[in-house]
Subunit: 265 residues, 2 copies
């Protein structure tokens, strides 16, 4: 993912969605429409939706729900009235039986009348608050993806959905980690406070230099790794469950809501 | 409801549940097993459970979920491992097509393999915190039920479930109301902060002296009514939806979990 400090940095959520809908914007949403809540997307048929909703309810730190649509209706009425989740993301991923089969820019012809869309809160919300507080975010300084790791922390299972929590990592001094924890306590609907800091092996991470997703970042002397529950968790869990069909956003290509970050406090 | 300051005031949650299971305790749970989180119960068949779970997710202030069971399993594994929701409440209510048909002390023979049980947070949690802070609770001083009112605040609908929010009311001075708001902000899973204070008509309450549920309490000079979203809301909404079958606790006869009030912070 490259960060997009373009003309879209100050775009409204609706402008961004309109461009995505028309196919004029198919890129990553990091650094655009700043201040608007962005969300991970998971779409499942209603037959699997109860178990997935229960999974999110039982695992609110990795799966903080921002909005859930009525079955068959692609409009997220609460966080973006008038939007259409079949067209308004820059790029999608289509999984059949857990295998990635396509990365289209819309899912109009795929959409089924029993599909339910889940929008899950995203780290951009608390990262914006950390940046505003002057705290360092190494992956943004370096213009790369945040490093993410599979842990040995088991999520609470729900029906067909189970698996380990995935975490993102940001290096900080202990004093910065404490300040970040304080700030993130305001954002329970965007992963909230960290789930661990310090020794990576305590949560089953063998090699901090080799993330499972994203890019490695250096940890400076005097810094410790700080770990947050990550919105990749629900996608990893769904892939492992191998439902007949599932649609998500392509990583980094998030849904941009009308809500402002402060609305999630 | 009368308040029970008996020998059970300091009982453990398990002792209380064991007595309820054996039929030795069939009373109200207010003032017993103090410090343990108590919860409202709603049981629905899985066919209606997705819409109800979605309703709770969309309306977290009246419907803060404490635990949701796997379909067919009456054990609330997270908040009370080993407990049995078919037997461990003092008294139940059985509704068929929205009509109250029975108030049994267990539902062992009724229970079906597709039933899902929802445990919804309860005002006792924040009331305990308010009492510990020295704030007055008029209905407890008077030994009566808290007054509850239907409002004109529409809940966010989900499928078959829709209807107005029900609120509970506690009279306080403005300074006490501010302190209570601060304290309750710690308990998002037990209704959280008030939803209104002052003029009852602003939320559609015509006569504060005539509550829709519970008992009227006097408001002293210098006090204002302070309103919290109430756990009666999901029950009222389910009754209005008239599912073929629904089981709840009898009002005041709550499920007592192993969790302590501080665990909900």
């Amino acid at each position: 993912m490259t960060h997009n400090f373009s003309e879209l940095h100050d775009a409204t959520a609706r402008e961004l969605r309109d461009r995505a809908r028309g196919g004029a914007f198919t890129g990553v949403t990091c650094g655009i429409a700043m201040g608007h809540v962005q969300a991970n997307l998971v779409i499942l048929p209603k037959a699997e939706a109860f178990d997935f909703l229960l999974f999110c309810q039982r695992n609110p730190k990795p799966c903080p729900l921002v909005d859930v649509t009525d079955a068959g209706n692609p409009e997220p009425k609460r966080c973006a009235p008038g939007a259409d989740l079949r067209t308004d993301l820059p790029r999608y991923r289509v999984y059949r039986h857990g295998e990635l089969v396509d990365e289209p820019t819309d899912i109009v012809t795929l959409w089924q009348p029993d599909w339910v869309a889940f929008l899950v809160g995203c780290s951009f919300t608390f990262e914006n608050a950390l940046l505003q507080a002057g705290l360092p975010l190494r992956h943004i300084e370096l213009g790369c993806n945040v490093p993410m790791y599979r842990t040995n922390i088991a999520c609470e299972p729900a029906g067909m959905f189970h698996g380990p929590m995935v975490v993102s990592m940001r290096p900080m001094t202990p004093a910065q980690a404490i300040r970040a924890t304080h700030i993130c306590s305001r954002f329970a609907r965007a992963h909230g406070t960290p789930i661990h800091l310090g020794d990576p092996s305590a949560i089953g991470i063998r090699d901090i230099a080799r993330p499972d997703f994203g890019d490695a970042v250096p940890i400076a002397p005097g810094e410790i790794p700080v770990f947050w529950a990550c919105g990749v968790t629900p996608q990893a869990v769904v892939m492992q469950a191998k439902p007949a069909i599932c649609v998500t956003h392509k990583p980094g290509h998030m849904f941009v809501t009308d809500w402002k970050d402060v609305d999630l406090e």
